[in-house]
Symmetry: C2
Subunit: 481 residues, 2 copies
């Protein structure tokens, strides 16, 4: 795959920017991120208007997503200001150790140019200015965003506003650029100067790029978030105690944003004979039909819903089968664990859009076996009655192994940006052992570097003997400042 | 590749052990590791005798390596007792955040059964009881070691002593097992229950297994350490000030263990006309010829040395060309940067054994360009005169990008086991952004897991509200206890 002249220029500039970024200090980078956040907030009216036109998402959602995105840029400024992310570690010499320990100091340093593949369903938060970009820039890497074809005008405007703000604040030219099109996307993953890839999208597309990254003469990390079923388990006691809230909560969650969320609850496990599916199907039509993001996603949903209807043992209990485009009603399917466990059952595949499958089981053993047969996911949710969790140890252990975030009550949609957040999980939820949301997302774009018997002046300030104002482990003891 | 009946049994037992290990506490695991360390130390005489017979390494080296290995098991007990490695993070609810933050708590949890491929050149420290095993067990994973064919008797005895000690201390059956042979090795990497692979060995063998791990329906992390040139740069001023110590130090380092170290200094850059190669060639014969580990490695060295002799622009200035087996003299080659930069130059390939290539350069620009053309390495070393490092900023930046550990003076052989150690570097030095030696090696065998609005009793003790005696970040603030 030959890179276009545009990509070649972008990469040359990114390499030049990286030379400067490696020497940049954390305070400067935090200020750049804040400036970029301010610039996006200042342009909110225009950005939301364009986003609404291109994605058909409602204004309120888009305003919230933009606020989350600018907050996230500032949050990564806080993360690097805090400095614990560097894992700064200092050992003074210990000649009596086996083998002897010389003066040895380690911290994390940025990787180099990072490729970011934007998602269709979060035009702000997982796109040009999203979490991958924010964490890669915070770490000190230049970023090249492959924009999503679903919102090109928005992508270019966000990039332009953000880059202007970054440069005005003193960041090096080449710190941020965009590319488009499948050929340059492939060439970007294969480019010798690309150091890592962040990707949010479908399993087939993500796996193809993962394979490409692994096939390089010098393989690079590929951080993909590819798909998730987000199973929910509701116990008989929880259902008895909170039936109407559970129906209402589920309908709200699986239809939010027309079900176009990676954390949409796709499967809900209930005891056989609970009648829960009918209740959900009865409540779902209260949600007005919503437009899908783009024709390709509407087609994908249509195909997924059709496959579910054709799966033996699966019944459509609510919602119309999707027509040709236009707005989409919620769809509710009912089945049981035997249909889920059948060879090649589509019940085990994500159906991206406003559909949910209610799965009836025959008790704990059957339930646990069904959960264990699912592919890895971003989340798993347990609705148990007050005090019941203690009786669910085996089930909870299985849910823990299946996902990256385990919810006790509530619904998986709505991913907070926080120090403790984890958005990731066993493959295909993500392709790595890292999170893509929250403070530790920055770890994806860093590598360790150790300095042995270095003169103080040759060390990064964070590893010198003088106090550095950040958490460090010195001679084995972690010190906060 | 079909798994043997032995491998199938081993994996079934490992999965069963993992169910218990996930629930094990850190204090128990630290005690198990200490018991294993004590058992190896208690059997030192027999183990060293077997190791000497199988590897032909000298007794003193083997005793030191065993002591390092048992220390390393205890060290990982300290790492998990400390508990910072869990990255325990707690956020209490914050409804005013965008989006709102629920009660959210995250820590790292073990991955599952870990495959470890033992190395030939460290029969203790990178073998059955080595760093990969120690860090994987400490994290709470069962380990399956593919033993190295170069020391099978030793491997079985270490495994038997270690397993007995682990079980006597209360560890679950299935926590440690060995396999052998190429077919089971392949089947182990492809086995659906294998969660990660640690590997130390050659580039061709490691890359083949890396590709296999990436090709799985569910890809798993492959932590390979594949090869390193470990360039050393000696400035004119350093050479003028310390010529004889530099000659002596280099000869000691590149011939240590018959040069069979991943950190052996393979390339030494000096100014043109320095005469350094002749000095090294003059001093090297003082080192007695040494046996190589095994015939296959002796053959590999012979092939590498022959290729170097045939490379245009490379001259053999000291040491005999290797004969058919037997003991091996040190070999010293001389060349310049143009031979190094030639297409497909073998000067850019690791020659595993007691050989060094002295490379003359024509000044800083030429030197930096040559370093930048090298593949990634574990280490890079700069010998500069007192106070000279400040003048070498561009060179140091290039060395930092090329390696995982940067030494100012000294020699790269001898890898201390310490909190601050990093043994890894840009591909092919390692295939990941992690270290394989030192405290943070444990991060390779862990994944994040977040708990949302979990009842206290359903949380791991480290994430409950009560003090946990470990460093935690609570509501954004890192607290040591």
């Amino acid at each position: 795959m030959t890179a276009s002249a545009h990509l070649t220029t972008v990469m040359t500039n990114a390499v030049a920017a990286f030379r400067e970024l490696r020497r940049s200090d954390r305070a400067s980078r935090a200020a750049w991120l804040a400036a970029a956040a301010d610039a996006l907030d200042a342009d909110a009216d225009a950005l939301v208007e364009i986003a609404g036109r291109e994605t058909r998402l409602p204004e309120q959602r888009l305003r919230g997503e933009l606020a989350r995105t600018s907050s996230q840029l500032r949050f990564f400024g806080e993360v690097i200001t805090d400095g614990a992310y560097l894992e700064a570690t200092i050992d003074h010499p210990n000649p009596s150790a086996t083998p002897p320990i010389p003066d040895l100091r380690r911290m994390l340093v940025p990787l180099g140019p990072v490729a970011v593949f934007a998602a269709s369903n979060f035009p702000f938060a997982f796109s040009v200015a999203g979490g991958d970009t924010a964490s890669a820039l915070a770490a000190g890497n230049p970023v090249i965003v492959k924009i999503h074809a679903g919102h090109p005008e928005l992508s270019h405007r966000v990039a332009e506003r953000m880059l202007t703000a970054l440069l005005d604040a003193g960041a090096p030219a080449g710190i941020l650029a965009t590319i488009e099109g499948r050929d340059d996307a492939t060439a970007l993953v294969l480019h010798p100067d690309t150091a890592a890839v962040g990707f949010t999208g479908s399993i087939p597309g993500g796996r193809a790029l993962f394979d490409l990254a692994a096939s390089r003469p010098t393989p690079i990390p590929f951080y993909g978030e590819l798909g998730s079923l987000n199973p929910v388990v509701i116990t008989a006691r929880a259902l008895a105690a909170h039936r109407s809230e559970l129906v209402e909560g589920l309908v709200g969650s699986f239809t939010l944003g027309a079900g176009q969320f990676c954390t949409k609850p796709g499967l809900v496990f209930v005891p056989r004979g609970s009648g829960f599916a009918v209740d959900v199907a009865t409540a779902a039509p209260a949600v007005a039909p919503q437009p899908m993001l783009m024709p390709r996603i509407a087609e994908g949903f249509r195909a997924g819903a059709t496959a579910l209807r054709q799966q033996p043992g699966v019944t459509l209990v609510g919602g119309d089968a999707p027509g040709d485009g236009g707005e989409q009603q919620p769809m509710v399917f009912a089945t049981d664990t035997s249909a889920l466990r059948a060879d090649d059952s589509v019940v085990r595949e994500e159906c991206f859009g406003p559909a949910v499958v209610i799965v009836e089981h025959d008790g704990d053993a059957d339930l646990i076996e069904a959960i264990a047969a699912l592919p890895g996911g971003l989340t798993a949710t347990l609705h148990a009655a007050e005090g019941e969790a203690a009786d669910c140890a085996a089930l909870i252990a299985t849910l823990e192994e299946s996902a990256g975030r385990l919810l006790f009550g509530g619904w998986p949609t709505g991913v907070a940006v926080a120090w403790s957040q984890h958005h990731g999980g066993p493959y295909p939820a993500t392709t790595s052992l890292f999170t893509s949301v929250g403070a530790s997302a920055i770890r994806r774009f860093l590598r360790p570097l150790a300095f042995q018997t270095a003169p103080d002046a040759a060390l990064p300030p964070e590893l010198r003997d003088a106090p550095a104002g950040i958490p460090r482990r010195i001679d084995g003891e972690l010190r906060v400042h």
